[in-house]
Symmetry: C2
Subunit: 476 residues, 2 copies
């Protein structure tokens, strides 16, 4: 934009309405009154309605499922380039990322005896397939991974293990961390005890008859066995048959397999900074999804939130001082390949990353502001929260969780903000066929855009930085 | 039960607590005070807890899907014989019924262009299959069957018709009657306009990604074309693509086919009447289910409600005057074969059927009492409602709807009661994979048992009968 004399006058006039800049920028001030006012206006504008739903609707309708390495994944990269380009982002480009290419094939889990039933199932992501005829064996039920760990190899050998632990619903998603290890580690624990396959109760809160997938992580020190999830109602039926006391035989079958790695890409677009453009605030989300659903909430919603937050900032008369970089990461779901490649390519430039945040827990609303910043920056976080408070966003602590895709940046010392999206209903839908546009609430999405826009704007205009943080190992 | 002197004394004493029998049985009295008190006690006992959930849980766990002619159908007949027998019913027997045997096979509905997507679909019950490679054609969207009917053959010829009408939620299920014709008649209307296949938005209220099946009824004057449903979220995606203006091509494929008819059976058990045992009160439900789900709400719930209502009556010290006959009908879903065979076998004995009622709209609660009885019997219906009122059951009119399985009896003059089960959420689940035990609310089921037990008891003890009703043609 070329400033016309009239615009310059308008800006000067506007500046004079607030307290003198010299005072706002005085000792310890993180933001000018002007910047704080701009952040509040941005918040209110977003809350009044954004284009976020339009973004996720377009991604769902024109791309849909997009697991790493699939045709949908490639279509998503094209979609993202077009979308960021047409929205006026600068420096829109890709970073090539080599991703694993697992294909689901078919899955079948059925009870053979005493009462035959076909169960709604999915192979867990990365599971090996079975032999062509499938595997039939007696089921051994364990109520948790811990319970399984204490069982004798004699009781497990040549059996199919059924981990029957129900995930609990919680706003902070804590029920997921408590049970996701069944999915990640169950197969190898069972295999080391001699099991021939594993079936887990879906790690999800829904009573719909829908299985939840997600990645299995085979240990290098255990045989690889096929791994499946079954829906909660089907797990109920299997449990009822087991608990009735007769031996229960189950048959599992899958053509899941791993193909050679494929190329995908991180897609990046920027809102260039005004005078400290080399300093970066990262807004992340992931472009891939699991294959059964449309990837509307995981992570179409996140893509829409960060894209729209940055777009709204780009429309301000006065751009923030630092560059806001939207990074739509490749393959979060099956090994965070894109996040690791982003860090590798950043190299020494990681030091120019002032702050990172990510949207990857659904549509929101955001209910809490957590952080991981240097202690000196905590007063700035408190100021930020006071601008977010009208959105019903509560203060949190400085022990926030980064999303999977900004975790590597945090481990490299980059401070992070954790704008906690309300996950109460997220795990009804996450990693299922049911991840559709019908589950996206446009109003919640707008509130989340408002929160991310405010946080990004303030991070990109703050006088000082947020320090550096101490690395910690990635969570399981 | 052999009455001991002590019991006889107890009954006489009890009778004396109420107004003299002579008064209660006086002019116009339908029930003795004793019978009304017994009905109220029965109501309160059921409301305090029944075994209905146990019945449906057993059917779901030990049988599950049981579409006409399938192995599950045969297992359901055995289950019902065992269950009625073990619960102490009298004269437990079957009536052989020849049923159509349609098998679903595979179904695939996918968008080929402009944006490829695989949609969650089911073949409609009775649909023919496609050629092995499937059928690919451009889609023409119609917003209703009426809209389709007015379209020109030139615009439909060689196309795939997509009827995109959303069913509305209502307690009385009226949204279903308004849209089910898309499923029943859409294929023939489309075929007569030259369509090569039809895809309908599921006739259901759920936003889960689950397609709703149910029977298609081919007209004899139209070519048979393959018919599919897609889930509501998938219909949203297809509609969004069509509305974007580019031609949308869809591919459908199915191995659905009809096998030779198979034998199934109505399963019948009775609570014999005390002194008018030849007079029958029918409590009906259907034993079959559509194949994708467990058949918990459709109609495991109905089976449980009528079975448990009759069982509770059988435990009373004093049996009702008339016989209560539980009829678990074969193949309601795909042509009401069992109901028609029941009527045929009844022959002249249909005149001994004093009243019929059916539970086939989920778990309840019952919210209204409707009827179709002779006008003279309306005061008795009002008395009945007053016993039901503490269950929050409102009075209705005398234009009630029989269930599909008692409709033939009504057409033959048998009065019916329509204990309206609350259908607000029923069509979220009806005819889907999602019809599971998780959708059965035990408390609602108990209330429904209470209502059916009271109604059956009063019908079986009423002094006079309910007259006869005028036949009317079966509803579409």
């Amino acid at each position: 934009m070329i400033l016309q004399p009239r615009s310059v006058f308008a800006i000067i006039t506007l500046a004079c309405l607030f307290s003198p800049l010299s005072a706002a920028l005085g000792q310890g001030a993180d933001w000018s009154e002007q910047d704080l006012a701009a952040a509040a206006a941005l918040r209110d504008k977003a809350l009044a309605g954004t284009r976020a739903f339009e973004h996720v609707g377009s991604l769902v309708t024109e791309v849909g499922p997009r697991s790493a390495g699939s045709a949908g994944d490639a279509a998503a990269v094209r979609w993202a380039l077009n979308r960021l380009g047409s929205l006026g982002f600068s420096h829109v480009h890709t970073q090539d990322v080599l991703v694993p290419h697992w294909v689901r094939g078919t899955a079948e889990v059925s009870i053979v005896a005493p009462f035959p039933q076909t169960l709604v199932s999915l192979a867990l992501g990365g599971s090996i397939g079975t032999v062509a005829d499938g595997i039939e064996a007696q089921v051994v039920r364990a109520t948790s991974l811990e319970a399984l760990s204490t069982m004798s190899p004699a009781s497990i050998k040549d059996k199919i293990v059924f981990i029957d632990e129900r995930m609990q619903r919680a706003r902070d998603g804590s029920g997921y961390s408590a049970t996701v290890r069944n999915r990640g580690m169950g197969a190898s624990v069972a295999a080391n005890l001699g099991a021939v396959a594993i079936v887990i109760r879906s790690v999800g809160t829904s009573d719909e008859r829908i299985a939840h997938t997600g990645s299995v992580r085979y240990s290098t020190d255990a045989p690889r066995i096929p791994a499946f999830s079954i829906s909660n109602p089907d797990a109920d039926v299997l449990a009822r048959q087991v608990q009735a006391g007769k031996p229960v035989r189950v048959r599992v079958k899958s053509t899941a397999r791993e193909l050679p790695p494929a190329w995908s890409a991180n897609v990046i677009g920027e809102i260039p900074g005004r005078d400290r453009a080399q300093e970066i605030v990262v807004l992340g989300a992931h472009l891939d999804s699991w294959d059964p659903g449309y990837g509307a909430i995981d992570d179409g919603a996140g893509v829409a939130i960060v894209t729209e937050a940055a777009r709204l900032i780009s429309k301000l008369d006065r751009q923030p001082s630092r560059t806001i970089r939207v990074v739509l990461f490749a393959n979060e779901e099956f090994g965070t390949s894109g996040a690791r490649e982003y860090l590798r390519l950043a190299g020494d430039d990681v030091s120019k990353h002032v702050l990172a945040m990510e949207a990857d827990l659904g549509t929101g609303p955001v209910w809490r502001l957590q952080s991981r910043v240097a202690p000196d920056a905590l007063p700035a976080i408190a100021s930020m929260q006071s601008v977010l408070a009208p959105l019903n966003i509560a203060p949190g602590d400085n022990n926030g969780s980064p999303g999977s895709d900004v975790h590597p940046l945090m481990d490299a010392g980059v401070p992070i903000l954790d704008l906690s999206l309300d996950a109460t209903n997220y795990f009804d839908v996450h990693h299922t066929v049911n991840d559709t546009l019908a589950k996206v609430d446009a109003k919640s999405l707008d509130q989340s855009v408002a929160a991310f826009a405010v946080a990004a704007y303030l991070a990109a205009t703050k006088q000082g930085d947020f320090g550096r943080v101490t690395a910690e190992p990635a969570k399981n």
